[in-house]
């Protein structure tokens, strides 16, 4: 929890990791990809404040103690949601698997939510694994990474028939939240790999599931916003949006936030630090202090209030995941309903 000026914020980190990208985990023959991947992450890391930067050695493989201190002790987070990323073609034990997350998290009861993942190209075997993970870890959410390489394939789409089998299974298994990350290398390469049209189709066809598009669809914020405004069950995951902009390019951050507030709305935005790309401490503190610059170009964006920040930092995600929020952190009755679906519509006028 975070307290500032007498206001108390319940913080849910909706998107974070416990990865091992050290050379001992690189797949022989795929070292250049494993190395290239973590170097790419490290580039994003550089966009945070200088005093929060880590040496590469720690960045490749940080400890349980590092994570507990950075996220909970220093980072103000009450509950953190693990989002696995497998990448087993490049990392021997996977980059950040459900098992690795849970093995660590089980030593800290009540602190973590264990999301799992699936890949439609894994067929029946993958479906069985999904069932086992839900049973074992109580997963209520999945992280999907559409650009993962798998057996010669360079990616997949949520609208693929194989993916629909898995989405149906998710509904049967009680999974509520589908976190989507659109990645760059996806078949066919002649199309825009970041296109979110497949999320649109899936969100329409699976109205009982919530689709949280991570990184607010970056680098396609425009397509994402226009889709999200028409789909009541599509949410904006703010991971990377805050981390890559708020410190280094505050004016861009203000414009991105303004657009998200207009097209998506404060009830459908969730905070995620993307730890260990960035630590949550500066992001939480900076976001609570943040508002639009006092200039005419920002005047017609929806206002950001303390209630807005409470929803985004924790109350929206708590609602999506059924996390109990102590009374002192809840909103007054006239401050809206966190994560309220169903009010999405094509914005006209304005």
């Amino acid at each position: 929890m975070y307290e500032k000026n007498g206001e108390k914020y319940f913080v849910v980190d909706g998107h974070m990791h416990y990865w091992n990208a050290a050379p001992d985990n690189w797949v022989p023959g795929a070292e250049q990809y494993a190395k290239g991947w973590i170097e790419c992450f490290y580039g994003y890391h550089q966009l945070g404040p200088p005093e929060t930067k880590w040496p590469m050695e720690k960045y490749q493989k940080y400890s349980e103690d590092d994570l507990m201190k950075d996220v909970f002790e220093d980072g103000h987070v009450d509950v953190a949601i693990f989002q696995p990323t497998y990448l087993k073609e490049w990392y021997k034990e996977g980059f950040n698997t459900t098992e690795r997350n849970a093995t660590m998290g089980e030593r800290h009861p009540g602190k973590f939510v264990y999301n799992t993942r699936w890949d439609p190209r894994d067929g029946d075997v993958g479906l069985e694994m999904l069932r086992r993970n839900v049973e074992r870890y109580g997963s209520k959410g999945c992280k999907l990474y559409t650009a993962e390489w798998n057996n010669g394939s360079r990616g997949w789409k949520l609208s693929d028939p194989g993916a629909y089998r898995y989405l149906e299974a998710c509904q049967e298994l009680g999974i509520k939240n589908i976190h989507v990350h659109k990645g760059p290398t996806i078949w066919p390469l002649d199309k825009d790999a970041f296109d979110v049209a497949d999320v649109d189709h899936a969100a329409t066809d699976f109205p009982e599931l919530n689709f949280i598009v991570e990184h607010v669809g970056l680098p396609r914020i425009d397509d994402f916003c226009y889709m999200a405004t028409q789909e009541p069950n599509v949410y904006a995951g703010l991971s990377v949006a805050i981390g890559a902009h708020m410190y280094i390019r505050p004016n861009f951050f203000a414009r991105v936030m303004g657009e998200l507030m207009f097209w998506v709305g404060e009830d459908k935005m969730t905070f995620g630090s993307d730890y260990a790309i960035w630590e949550p401490k500066w992001q939480v503190e900076g976001f609570v202090d943040w508002n639009y610059p006092d200039r005419p170009e920002f005047a017609d964006y929806p206002k950001v209030t303390t209630a807005t920040k409470k929803k985004i930092l924790g109350l929206n995600a708590a609602k999506l995941y059924g996390i109990e929020v102590p009374a002192e952190f809840r909103l007054a009755t006239d401050q809206g309903t966190p994560a309220a679906p169903g009010d999405a519509q094509l914005v006209a006028g304005a």
Partner: protein
């Protein structure tokens, strides 16, 4: 804003696996990346320089080659690859052999856009008077070998990525030109709105009635590239697919989408500049100092 250029000195996050001399400091990057040209620091031109050349008497040609590269845009960011800092070497030998080296913000940048930039650079350089042969090399990218080989062989995208792509990239390029038209619409309309123009006035306006500006020239050029109306009599507000004038009731959403598209492209560009700066820590050839500072 800070300029944390020194924070990565000696760190492992910089120029990656395929460079032959990774010990060089960040500020030597452009020199080292100059590749086949002798790595003499004094030959690396300043931000307004014209290229590296081991021989005398060819500087004007290298300068023309760099100017040609300035016409090549990142299709996704709608900016010249020079001002983005993507060009690290551009030489033309006395015999007319041109050599260009390019770099991108990450190892995993989308291969289709990377291919377009390498292919466009190849075409631009090949069209420079006096150039006899052209080599364009994209460095430090997971698909470098495929892209460089495919462009050198003039193989086209589908053949270069056989089995992973089914067609050429014209559709992709057009999709992003349409985004550039939307973003450009905001660039032209926002000052007009700030000066008090009503939405109805914008709807009635033709391109010829808009006060001259760089943004207007750019918008006209992008529209012309798509085959959309771009003359003086063409409406300012058009659908970027059909070219038809926007209907009155759709103007508010159209202007909102124009701004959204601009914010999206510029936010993307901001991240790309930041990543490139921290990956290499050096300005690109033909990149003005104020362009590089945008990454800070």
């Amino acid at each position: 804003m800070t300029a944390p250029a020194t924070s990565r000195a000696g760190g492992p996050g910089g120029s990656s696996s395929r460079a032959s001399s990774p010990a060089a400091g960040p500020r030597d990057g452009a020199c080292r990346l100059a590749g086949q040209a002798p790595s003499v620091p004094g030959e690396v031109p300043g931000p307004s320089g014209s290229g590296v050349s081991p021989g005398g008497g060819v500087r004007p040609r290298a300068s023309a080659a760099l100017a040609a590269l300035a016409t090549v845009r990142d299709p996704e960011l709608d900016e010249p690859i020079t001002s983005l800092g993507f060009v690290t070497a551009c030489t033309v030998s006395a015999d007319g052999d041109a050599r260009v080296r390019l770099r991108l913000p990450t190892y995993f940048c989308a291969p289709n856009f990377a291919f377009l930039m390498v292919a466009d650079a190849y075409d631009a350089i090949s069209g420079v008077p006096g150039v006899r042969s052209t080599e364009v090399v994209l460095e430090d990218h997971f698909a470098s070998d495929a892209i460089n080989g495919g462009v050198a062989a003039q193989a086209g995208f589908a053949a270069t990525f056989d089995g992973e792509a089914v067609s050429e990239l014209h559709g992709l390029r057009a999709d992003f030109l349409r985004k550039a038209v939307m973003a450009g619409t905001d660039q032209v309309c926002r000052p007009l709105l700030a000066a008090g123009a009503s939405r109805a006035a914008l709807l009635a306006m033709t391109l010829g009635e808009v006060p001259a500006s760089g943004a207007l020239d750019r918008l006209r050029q992008r529209r012309a590239e798509l085959g959309l109306p771009a003359g003086d009599g063409a409406p300012l507000l058009i659908d970027p697919v059909t070219g038809a004038r926007i209907a009155e009731e759709a103007v508010p959403v159209h202007l909102r989408r124009a701004r959204l598209t601009r914010v999206s492209i510029e936010a993307n560009g901001s991240i790309c500049r930041g990543l490139l700066r921290h990956r290499y820590g050096s300005a690109g050839l033909g990149q003005a100092p104020e362009e590089e500072r945008k990454a800070q």
